[in-house]
């Protein structure tokens, strides 16, 4: 067998390994229900902030508590022991990485999606529109 062939086989082997490790290292996008039935296991939940529910940030302990609703409509209390992200109230969508416990979902990482400028433009178009309607034009 030629050396190039050995190298090729090695490359393929490493790549197969890479794919397997990738799936091993991958968490699952889930809802709160799935996280609840596997307490302690890490999941990534995408949801929205429940703006009606109580939101509290205890700066001295650096514990941020809020309620989120996942895409299937299930709500959970979420505890995040990091500073409250800037403009959290404005978030459209929150990605929470963490695990469920009996009392709350403990998030270790939170990413937020904020309103994009494209929405802003749609809003503007709408505003202009209503302005004209008000004037009866």
């Amino acid at each position: 067998m030629k050396k190039t062939h050995i190298v090729l086989i090695l490359i393929v082997a490493v790549l197969i390994g890479a794919i397997m490790v990738m799936f091993k290292d991958a968490g699952t996008y889930a809802g709160f229900n799935l996280a609840d039935s596997n307490k302690g296991q890490e999941f990534t939940v995408i949801g929205y902030l429940d703006k009606e529910a109580k939101m509290d940030f205890d700066a001295r302990k650096t514990i941020f508590t809020f309620t989120a609703t996942d895409k299937t409509g299930v709500s959970r209390k979420v505890i995040y022991n990091q500073p409250k992200p800037q403009d959290f109230e404005r978030s459209e969508e929150i990605t929470m990485k963490g695990f469920a416990t009996d009392t709350a979902f403990i998030a270790s990482e939170i990413l937020m999606k904020c309103p994009s400028k494209y929405n802003e433009q749609n809003e503007m178009a709408g505003n202009n529109n209503s302005y004209i309607d008000d004037k009866g034009q």
């Binding site: 790549l15 990738m22 700066a59 990091q82 800037q86 529109n129 004209i132």
Partner: protein, 809 residues
């Protein structure tokens, strides 16, 4: 209808130039194709390509002119600039959007094409033909026309009133809409995060790097089409190293921007968008070295062709990943989807099929080496190194493509393999677990590479020459690991190999190369590579978060990395004592910043605290993106101290004062007192009233006032009269606010059941000392990384110059 104030000519010129760019590129492809059989066509091809380049410059120039002159009737101008945008950020604004960054990419392709027009000599035809084909596709990305109901491209020359979402809205029917509605008089402006000098130079450099990968690709495709499998190697070589240098510099600038202006605490986070820029660089390094081997020794033609092709295809794939919206949830800074993902995917598949198809078709005809390389030859280990670079890039590509796997095999995938979409939980650990071992292998190869000779190395001399460097590196590694307390064996191994790479290449240049300029390029670049790895290793492995909060909450909770610091308080952080001296608003063009001044003190040898420096991390109050923290970093030769504010109350004093709480409702009879809060008692002295009757006898107006005495501590008494008014059957209250007491009282009405006035009180939040939460990180030796990047870029450019400089006869 004629609209007032529109500059229609600009959009028409722009769109005409885009169409001309597209057609001239197609004409160039056709002419160069014909020229392979009939050389008479070559001239037309060249003219067509020059026309194409000129059209691209016109497109770019027109859009730039429109932006500089604030033609806000155009959607792109309105979205990305504003009247108050400082002119120096006009470039940033130009490539903020997808359309502009496509134009930037095309611009560089056109420039590189013009250079090749004069330098590629006999390769002009196939090389420029290939570039023109790519340019034709790219031109169509900014075309913005509908063909059979499919949208082809997205034009930056569309008026706002022509945008699909606005068509048919009433305001588009008003001829003077531009002067009538305030929202059109100024644009929405450039995202303040991008108003940073790095954003002026990072994108053009990175895109020149991306664009330059087309040159080896075009040479490789040309070689296959012409069946001249070897002739392309020599002219492609300097271009491959040029690409390595520029792309590397572009990536470095992106890292520097992230480190200086963003607050994720580092220069690299394995974000999909960062990965997409790194991957083509890795394959380009492999490609350049294989072309070098092929030129000097031969025998690696298939790999050299493969890597030239895949480097460019990976640039296309990156473009697809970052612009199609596929990354969606997994990256913070991917572009917004413009609905072009289908078009991008078709182009990507087209180039993949055509180029790999060509390679497969010609594979059997490629000249085969007569004899295999031996394991003691430089070419063998250069080949191995290139393959490790390829592996490294493929691993990153695969893991970055997780969202693509989800689309293909996920719950809504073509082939349904798993139930829930997946995402890599801890990307930094995941990527490091592969890339650190790759880096160890590569740094070893970089150390020994130059000492190996082509064909066959004299092994005893090889060991003898390397012994000194190896010895010095072992000593340095042990000393540093001991001094810095590094214990992870894998990191110590990488510490050794990267030190070895630096020392061995310095030694090679001085002792073997005798400081000759001909060997300077490769030596400097390799020293730079070693420094980059060493700097990245030390600054990450030994980074020290000095803002650890020791408060214990629960064993499941990690220790917090944020420290709460009150105004005028001093806390110890690492070897420093830090005082938070106050918050201030920025001035002038920085008025949307709030700065938080932190004074850093250190104990001197007389146990006195001496102020060393002041850091002012800030929060940008950004209407569009929300409030964004920006770090502040103190640079020293051997370390950086990096701070950013992770929480601050950025409300204005008025907003803070307006917060009433502890609402309390009760009734009182005349003369009765009640303690409402621990320090406040209220007494109802009397009720006063005033009425006015309508002619028909009904009440037009009733006002009731409650005369109240407020008894604070120390027997102070203050009078207040909250009033309750009913007018035209509308009830309202006029509250009495006593800001000195931090207290507010309202007469909310009369309780009908007991016939007593109903009172409500609030108090203000007790005055809390202002505080912020900060994170502070010490990055040791991060300067090695930056110096390494610069050396790598310079060294590579020297090597390029060595290959293209006019040789003296």
């Amino acid at each position: 209808m004629d609209y007032i104030g529109e500059h229609i000519w600009a959009g028409e010129l722009g769109r005409f130039a885009v169409s001309l760019a597209l057609t001239s590129a197609m004409l160039a492809v056709f002419s160069f194709w014909q020229a392979e059989k009939n050389p008479a066509w070559k001239k037309l091809g060249k003219v067509a390509f020059a026309t194409h380049a000129l059209s691209v410059f016109t497109v770019v120039g027109t859009l730039f002119f429109m932006m500089a002159n604030h033609y806000f009737e155009y959607d792109y101008v309105w979205k990305h600039t504003s009247l108050d945008l400082p002119p120096r950020y006009l470039f940033s604004a130009f490539w903020e959007g997808q359309e502009g960054s496509f134009l930037l990419w095309m611009f560089w392709h056109a420039v590189l094409g013009l250079v090749l027009l004069f330098t590629a000599k006999k390769w002009t035809g196939p090389v420029l033909g290939t570039i023109a084909a790519v340019q034709a596709f790219l031109s169509s990305m900014v075309l913005g026309v509908y063909i059979f109901g499919y949208k082809i491209g997205f034009s930056p020359f569309i008026l706002i009133r022509e945008m699909p979402e606005n068509i048919g809205l009433p305001w588009t029917e008003i001829s003077d809409y531009l002067t009538r509605f305030p929202s059109f008089m100024d644009g929405t402006g450039l995202n303040p995060l991008l108003q940073n000098y790095w954003m002026t130079i990072h994108p053009p450099t990175l895109f020149l790097g991306f664009a330059s990968t087309i040159v080896p690709f075009a040479f490789a495709i040309g070689a296959l089409l012409r069946k001249d499998y070897k002739g392309w190697i020599k002219p492609a070589l300097p271009w491959a190293f040029f690409s390595v240098s520029i792309l590397g510099t572009g990536i470095l600038m992106g890292g520097a921007w992230a480190y200086e202006a963003l607050s994720f605490g580092g220069f690299w986070a394995w974000d999909p968008v960062e990965n997409s820029s790194l991957v083509p660089w890795l394959t380009m390094v492999a490609c350049a070295h294989l072309i070098l081997v092929q030129k000097n020794r031969g025998g690696v033609l298939p790999s050299a062709l493969f890597l030239s092709i895949i480097s460019f295809l990976l640039v296309l794939y990156s473009t697809f990943l970052t612009r199609s919206g596929v990354l969606g949830d997994s990256s913070v800074h991917a572009f917004v989807d413009l609905g072009l993902s289908g078009q991008l995917l078709i182009y990507l598949l087209f180039f993949v099929l055509v180029s790999f198809g060509l390679l497969a078709f010609h594979y059997r005809k490629l000249p085969k080496p007569k004899k295999e390389e031996t394991m003691d030859s430089r070419e063998f280990w250069l080949f191995i190194g290139s393959m490790v670079f390829l592996l490294s890039s493929l691993q990153i590509t695969i893991s970055t493509s997780m969202p693509v796997f989800n689309k293909l095999f996920g719950p809504e995938g073509l082939i349904h393999l798993y139930e829930n979409n997946k995402t890599i939980s801890n990307p930094i650990d995941h990527y490091n677990s592969f890339q650190v071992p790759f880096a160890i292998v590569l740094t070893v190869l970089v150390s020994i590479g130059q000492y190996l000779t082509y064909r066959k190395t004299n092994m005893p001399t090889f060991y003898k020459k390397l012994a000194a460097s190896a010895g010095i590196s072992v000593i340095l590694t042990i000393a540093f690991a001991w001094y810095s307390g590094m214990t992870n064996p894998i990191y110590i191994l990488l510490l050794f190999t990267s030190t070895f790479a630096i020392v061995a290449n310095i030694d090679y240049w001085i002792r073997v190369g005798r400081g000759k300029i001909t060997l300077a390029g490769s030596s400097i670049a390799h020293i730079g590579f070693g420094l980059v790895i060493l700097g990245a290793l030390i600054s990450n492995a030994n980074k020290n978060i000095i803002s650890q909060n020791k408060t214990f909450i629960h064993k499941e909770f990690p220790e917090n990395e944020n420290l709460l610091i009150e105004l005028n308080d001093t806390l110890q952080m690492g070897e420093y004592w830090v005082t938070y001296v106050g918050e201030r608003a920025g001035t002038g063009s920085e008025s949307h910043y709030n700065y938080f001044d932190l004074e850093f003190y250190r104990e001197n040898k007389d146990s006195m605290l001496v102020q060393e420096f002041v850091l002012s991390p800030s929060i940008q109050k950004n209407e569009r993106m929300g409030n964004v923290p920006e770090p502040s970093t103190e640079h020293f030769l051997t370390k950086d101290i990096y701070t950013h504010v992770t929480y601050a109350d950025v409300r204005t004093p008025e907003e803070k004062a307006d917060e009433w709480q502890d609402e309390f409702e009760f009734t009182l009879s005349e003369g009765e007192s009640k303690m409402v809060y621990e320090n406040i008692t209220v007494r109802l002295d009397s009720i006063i009233s005033d009425t006015k009757k309508n002619p028909d006898g009904s009440f037009a107006f009733i006002a009731i006032g409650a005369r109240i005495s407020i008894l604070g501590l120390a027997d102070s008494v203050v009078q207040a009269t909250p009033i309750y008014v009913v007018q035209n059957n509308q009830a309202s209250s006029i509250d009495a606010e006593l800001l000195d007491f931090g207290f507010k009282i309202q007469l909310a009405g009369i309780d009908g059941q007991v016939n007593k006035p109903l009172l409500k009180v609030w108090r203000q939040k007790p005055d809390e000392k202002p505080f912020i939460l900060i994170q502070a990180i010490v990055f040791p030796m991060i300067n090695l990384l930056w110096v390494g990047c610069i050396l790598m870029a310079i060294g590579t450019l020297i090597a390029v110059w060595q290959r293209i400089k006019p040789t003296k006869k």
